[in-house]
């Protein structure tokens, strides 16, 4: 048997030979009993290798892979932050953190002064009222939980449909606080609760204390 035939037989058996090479091998096989025996050996080898492969369930490791995939996905918060960045609101997001720090420090300062005033001038209610910090976001607001697979584009569309804007969130439980035009809170909530990407919606008095 020629070296060329010996080289080509594995590819003849696995079906990846080009047409002209396949035809050449066919001619050799037709003319040579030794070549046919060699072909048979290769087929037996192929079949034995296939049979020696362990039978495994097609979904072996699938659940673990899906867990990895889902863990890779950006959270809704990431997506919204990325959307805000992409919508040219990046500077607003960047500014939000220092503003929050300044607000927190101011609040502590105001409360300290209030305590001082209370202890020193317990009867001077007018002074206390003057020093009371106004909440940043007076209610009512909508508290919304979106479905885990909600896309930021869909959320954006939905908020724009109710003329809503984000007032806060997401919290640890995934709550978002949405401001809608005054007087439309209930109508907006009814509309949102029928949307597929909305898991829950509720009208609330305002942002919780944590905000």
């Amino acid at each position: 048997m020629s070296i060329r035939l010996s080289e080509l037989l594995p590819w003849y058996v696995n079906g990846t030979l080009k047409d002209e090479e396949r035809e050449w091998v066919d001619r050799c096989l037709a003319a040579d009993a030794g070549a046919r025996a060699e072909l048979e050996w290769h087929r037996e080898l192929q079949s034995s290798i296939a049979q020696s492969v362990s039978e495994v369930a097609p979904d072996l490791g699938l659940a673990r892979t899906l867990r990895h995939i889902r863990a890779d996905r950006p959270t809704l918060g990431d997506r919204i932050r990325s959307w805000l960045g992409g919508a040219g609101l990046g500077p607003v997001v960047a500014l939000a953190r220092p503003i929050a720090v300044i607000a927190a420090v101011s609040l502590i300062g105001v409360q300290s002064v209030s305590i001082y005033v209370l202890t020193r001038h317990a009867d001077d209610a007018q002074q206390i009222r003057a020093l009371r910090a106004l909440p940043a976001d007076e209610g009512p607001l909508l508290r919304v939980n979106f479905a885990p697979d909600a896309r930021e584009a869909d959320i954006r569309l939905l908020l724009s449909a109710v003329e809503g804007s984000l007032a806060g969130g997401p919290g640890q439980l995934g709550d978002y606080y949405v401001r809608v035009p005054a007087g439309t809170e209930n109508a907006a909530a009814s509309r949102l609760k029928h949307e597929r990407i909305v898991a829950a919606v509720e009208v609330v008095a305002g942002l919780p204390d944590a905000y």
């Binding site: 594995p10 058996v13 290798i49 673990r64 995939i69």
Partner: protein, 202 residues
Amino acid sequence: MAAKPQPIDDAKAKEFLGRIARQDEAAFETIYKAFSRRVFAYALYMLKEPDRAEEVLVDTMHEVWRNAARFRGDSLFSTWLIGIARNKALLVHRGRRADELHDDLDEVAETEVDELAPEGFAELAAKQRREGVQACMQKLSQEHRECLQLVFYQGCSLADVAHLQGVPENTVKTRLYHARQRIKNCLRLLIEREGADSGASS
């Protein structure tokens, strides 16, 4: 054991890959079930350990999910997939302790036969053939074992094997030649051993 998934041809696989690039989990599951056995079989041949082979399968498929959009379609989907599995398996292989390595060859497979005689299967019963091939494959070097797997199980072309192993096509031909020689020789020794055992017992 779950039902055997329907085989998927290359065109269909590429179509599913397009859907995976758009984060379609259902398409991913279809591809996973259709190709998991091939990836697992390849990894098992390379690493010889089911746990590590499963690890490679999971990592490979995860990579498919992450990089589906990067597949340019120049090769068969299965070749691209095995290429990913190969890189993962090599990482695992390199991470093994030194004393776990280099058990690939022993004197049984090392001895060369004089010529490519087509004996070696006819004398063995079907079960012995399967076990014989399995035993003899385990005695090959990793390159030789991989070469036989890629050709006879994965159905890769010469160009694909050369690409996957990162060597010229002539090197693949040489590897394949030696791998077949050693398998033949190993099978012949098995038959002789069988004969000696049955002669001794009679």
